[in-house]
Subunit: 320 residues, 6 copies
């Protein structure tokens, strides 16, 4: 049956610069029945507090995803053989209004989740994770969160407003969308507002693995920490600004001294087997990118997410 | 007394790349008592529907304004000798919320207008003109509008929302901030949604001088048309996208085939003597600029606004 | 019936940075039965002799075409109401082989022309016009050529090879694809290899209107010259390098001192009513573009082509 | 004999991106005996007061000059058939010291002028014109100056120093290198420091044709004015910033509202027949260029200079 | 009392793209009485021998420093609580003259040092360190130098001139401004002119820790080496070109294979507690930067310098 | 005798931005008698399947090679003292035809190899390695290949064609140009088409050291593996895309997660002493480069190749 699964267009036959522009050159499909993973754009950046631009993230990540190939030697998996993956297009947004956007994103995601699809959302800024989590929690209950980011995004408000890309996870916890005791924040670095900011994750019941710890103990130890803690339906949110600005200049709040791509990829691959029910990759800001290297890295990370989903399905079938 | 007016820092003594960054290297001042024209940033772009970025407009226009010099040979005027001009800093905004921003901008502008200051606002996207007009009309009553732009910005709504950079002037007319019978829209070009779009200005009582007419009859005829129509307290709103994308690539909704800088400058200079009580220059989007040429042109246009204000004061004094 | 024609996705409801990436946000369709105009990419640049890059032209022109709107006030026409226009995707190419590409392009175009579709091809470099003309002539016989370009592309060979972007029209004439006596070359400027180069068009029976003549007599006179000469099935080939490098930096063989966009648009609009059976827009090279202004202009010119096709159909129906 | 003159490498045989990098792909030659025109780089920018970068001008202008071809249809001349033109390499400079540079440039130029060579110097910033004029005047006596520029460069000093790119022509006049009564400054525009600045040319005996006059009366009238005034050995100094920043962004002191390339080329071509004994093209600043369009335009203008030199020789031979 | 110290403007209340542009959004102050650390621009690049541009360094580093926050978790310190830090503006320079610049920089710094202020200078090219060291040594006597750089800057002359960015430290040693026996040069890499170049530091009594040693033994060992050697009043000079060009493309003499930002930050943090009386961060060249990542990294390094100064004061108070 | 060898122009006397543009500022020479290593451009990119541009590689690598200096402290060698190195210019290519190019490249290289010269070729895309290997094998017999690359380039065909940058080494093996049993492929990473792709090297008798192994065991272990396997006349082919896109964005098929420059340099230096008879450095694509950092790194790697050649000669002389 796997022979009938949708496949990327073969670049040995149709060049990568030709053909429709979809994620990994997979088919675009509106009907998601029978789909395992749907790649979905969430082109909204009305929650950014410094540089805007991630509204162009989904389109640009799709463009660079044309470079992806089908077999992942690092994980030893051909994901498109194992699961059905399609490009589900973009979720509806209102560029000028964050609350309206949240409503539309959640409303559009709920039926997709209802079909058993695992959403892989390409942002957009980090504010979009909130409506995604609302829809995910509506289906799966509160989730274990793996949050990879330079920042904790646990601030309370900006300019008197509760919604922004810096307040997402405080809102998510307040709304009961996340199980803090099963959740981890990974990769935080750079100056913060206050010594108490570094206490915030603990205050909210989260575990934080700052980049300084990774620098000392290595990626593999971080992976072990995450795996020890995460259980039950899990959600992976990856903010590209965890990566150093040299590798990911195209983002809104860059922090000097971040992860390298090899570390980032190793970190994600280390999560193989965890029971993720959703993914997002956010804060890719094409107007600030240089040579599209941020979008290329983001496409690769999203591809690893698909591999994680494929391996999760594989292992669950093996177990059964 | 003119000898005591604030002057730009002399680039023959302090290089343009040194010193504080203010508009035209004028002093930054929070107390605006006795000021004739205050340059004010409105760094908000939450109303954009395509490319964001104008939130960085005020900073970048200030940066390029360091190239300005003090005597305008085209109009034969040394504006900083005639009037008191300062950089009044940025008006308060809420990057993630358009209504909050509107409230803050209007609230901050009202006392400034109360001092008799002429505000020269650097956007920001074109949505910011609405709260500015609210404050201006509160002080001066409904104004004659000279609106120079590739687009009429008379649409009713985007994605179900009434506020955006494309709906500004419909809202302004609905709210009675503008006297349509004394107002003109100039420079419209490029495809529109519907044949009726070109009827909209007339439907709202405005006169439109599309770019096609300028192409046929020339700038000077457009100037005469404007001067025939405008009377009473007037407001000049200049959207940089009226200029061709080659000269002004740094904008959010570029339209091929626009004005040249020489045409734009001639158009603005032609308005010398009209009784403007406020100005804005909007939609400069630095992330999309190339070699800062959009910001440089914008700085020059804003400088011409200052000259208009200087000449208006000069002629009103001569008359008195 | 016009109500059922495919329409661009409305940017007042779905933002321009969302949704599938097709020309003017029209539907992508592989079945072209009943279609009047199909926009087709020809992503090949193996014929370039200086800067490569036009293989990315179709994708980038589509991207910028999202800014187009549906009513053209300059011509007073709503093209998508009058004719059925779709995005037909990309024609097959072989990036590493020009002869193979020519075969595939021609073979793919012949059945499309057989359906009565007018192809509007987005290049690619100017070599792709040759297989297009082969397919067009196979359907319509030799055509009247309107060739707008900085160069005549009448050279005999480069480095001992007959096919390249500089030899297209000599080959086309040798192969009898063009009726020279009904054809015009417009816009040539810049230094050439030899005084005889300026005699080449006449030697091949073509009429040349160099840019120097346009500078002296104006666009409207050039339009009259074209209209006097062109009759019978006609083909319009537009090389973006006819436009000055400031407006169209994204091209492979730029020539200083070219047309302005307003001149270029006026020139194309002046051809309304001529019986075009095919169009191409070539030599947009995104890697060399600045701020996407070349691609934006190209999208606008292609949109004017669609309007020409709509008006041609309209007038032929009126006559009937 | 003309068959033996050095020729550009033929791009129909060796691609423009291959082969040694010299101006117009002419031979590089250190021995300038028998040479009519030598293209010489003066890679110095220690006289700039705002943006540096012109030290890279010669190299970049050479790079874009590979696009030039051999016959100039606008003037009807094949310059490399008529005169012997070579690339003479770069004159010696001291990047960190303006006086040392002046000494070296003059010292290197004197023997070249002694051979009867017409130097065509590619800057560098406009300060380099002073040592060039010193060498030229040492050979030919004071010259008639045609100075095309956005600025008069007649200031007295910057930061207490007499040498810079803004003081060149005051120094040249003070040193008696120029015959003011036979000289013209053309193209000045943009704000200046003082109303008196516009009186400076007259004060120094020069005639100024500001851009505003060209806008009103046209290029051809400016040409006539120049031709009426210039007589005797003449020198042409062209500052690329006279061209609008859209066409020439790569320069250090851009002024909005400048010439178009077509105007600039027409202006230069209009000088055919004047007895120029030297040329310079200055202020091309590659780090600020966009898509190399400034360098391409500069290469074309320098090519026109060569054509002027060829026509001057031709007419002097005809006369003889 | 710390509550009254100047604080950065809070980005949770005023966005980072609004407000005056000063380092870390600290107040700009001309009166430096009572100030612990003054951030001072030295916008001069007349000493560069390859790519110019660092004259724009101070402005751009300030711009990116708006991203900084107030608490440094890596060092566990809130510097602005512990010491008084302000932006002291730019020191006077003469863009066209290196000796004049040296005089003005030294003259301006002397009274600042006289107030007990620790200067933190943002260059500018590396030549500006010489007048800074002159002023520092005048106050504190010869200093222990920690010089972090890809190059030793110990050359004797360029083009016959003694002053440039490559000769700074030979001059400083010759003038007795540095105590070589307490000084270290760190991070040298890339090809040099001669095998003897690697002997030069030792010849001048300095210790060199080349990058090759760091690659073998790690940053912490380099830190130990520095700490063993440095004693007495110390000065830290950091040339951004020690960092690999991928992370710091915006510099004039890039060397492939440099430090990573994490290494650079760890190196600087390792110096906490050393008695620095001055700092500089030089060779940030914005025209060559990509996505402002060099300036962002530079702003972070300068922030670490402030933390070092804060911790030095803290420890000196604890000791007392 | 070494004193008479060609030397780079000294940048302490002539600035790096002046003078002829040759590799490392070495003399350009057409006569290669007595030359040990000739740097040769192969400006062809007609074999690229995604982004074109490497045709500009040779020119740009030469430009950045002006930053190189003469002594290599990492290897302790002054190569230009030990061997005679010149810039031999560009090999002939036909931009529009891959087979013609192959013929010309091979034909031009054969006599050069006949002189005993070691060619160091700067690409161009990776297809050019095939004609180089043909010429090398004609002289030296089949070679031991050290192939450093993100990809194996062992695919069979693209779009039905046998020649492209992705099929080079399958062709080379089929043609008997390489001794697989003495050859290694190093650095492969990123997704591939199929699990079997990772078996291809072994199937062809090659040994592969993927980047994942280097990540685990380090560069030095990879060096040992290479040195154990390589014997007899050897050829080193280095595709810049083995380096991470942050350090080498200017390439056509970037793969996230590649080598760092320090790893790449260490890898190459580790090969000192191996008997290389030829080198290439390919896939530098300047249109996609950012701040020229790819070309700078490529110039440094090519410089290390020269050092390898110098050390090989040195050791062979010592042995004799």
């Amino acid at each position: 049956m796997s022979g009938e699964r949708p496949k990327p267009i073969d670049p040995l036959r149709v060049p990568r610069f030709a053909g429709p522009l979809t994620f990994a050159r997979l088919p675009y499909r509106e009907d998601l029945v029978g789909v395992d993973v749907a790649v979905l754009g969430v082109p909204f950046d009305g929650g950014t507090t410094f540089r805007p631009g991630p509204r162009f993230g989904p389109r640009k990540v799709r463009e660079l995803s044309t470079l992806l190939r089908t077999y992942n030697p690092a994980l030893g998996v051909s994901p498109f053989e194992l699961i059905t993956v399609v490009d589900g297009g973009d979720l509806p947004v209102v560029p000028t209004h964050i609350e309206d956007t949240f409503e539309r994103v959640e409303a559009a995601l709920r039926p997709i989740l209802g079909l058993g699809v695992v959403p892989l959302c390409i942002g957009g800024d980090h504010s979009v994770t909130l409506p995604i989590l609302r829809a995910v929690a509506a289906r799966h209950g509160p989730v274990a969160l793996v949050h990879i980011d330079a920042h904790t995004d646990l601030w309370d408000e900006y300019y008197g407003r509760k919604y922004s890309h810096g307040t997402t996870f405080r809102r998510a916890i307040e709304e009961g969308l996340v199980r803090p005791e099963a959740s981890v924040q990974v990769g935080m670095h750079g100056p913060v507002f206050d010594a108490e900011d570094y206490e915030l994750p603990r205050k909210f019941g989260l575990l934080m693995v700052p980049l300084a710890e990774i620098e000392t103990y290595g990626i593999d130890e971080a992976v072990r920490t995450i795996r020890r803690r995460v259980h039950g339906p899990a959600y992976l949110s990856f903010d590209i600004d965890v990566v150093d600005p040299a590798f990911a200049p195209g983002t809104g709040t860059p922090e000097a001294g971040g992860l390298t791509p090899r570390e980032a990829l190793r970190l994600v691959r280390g999560l193989a087997g965890l029971p993720f029910v959703g993914f997002d990759l956010v804060e890719v800001s094409p107007p600030y990118d240089q040579g599209d290297i941020t979008a290329l890295l983001a496409a690769n990370i999203a591809y690893e997410f698909i591999c994680l989903a494929a391996m999760a399905k594989q292992s669950s079938q093996t177990e059964a």
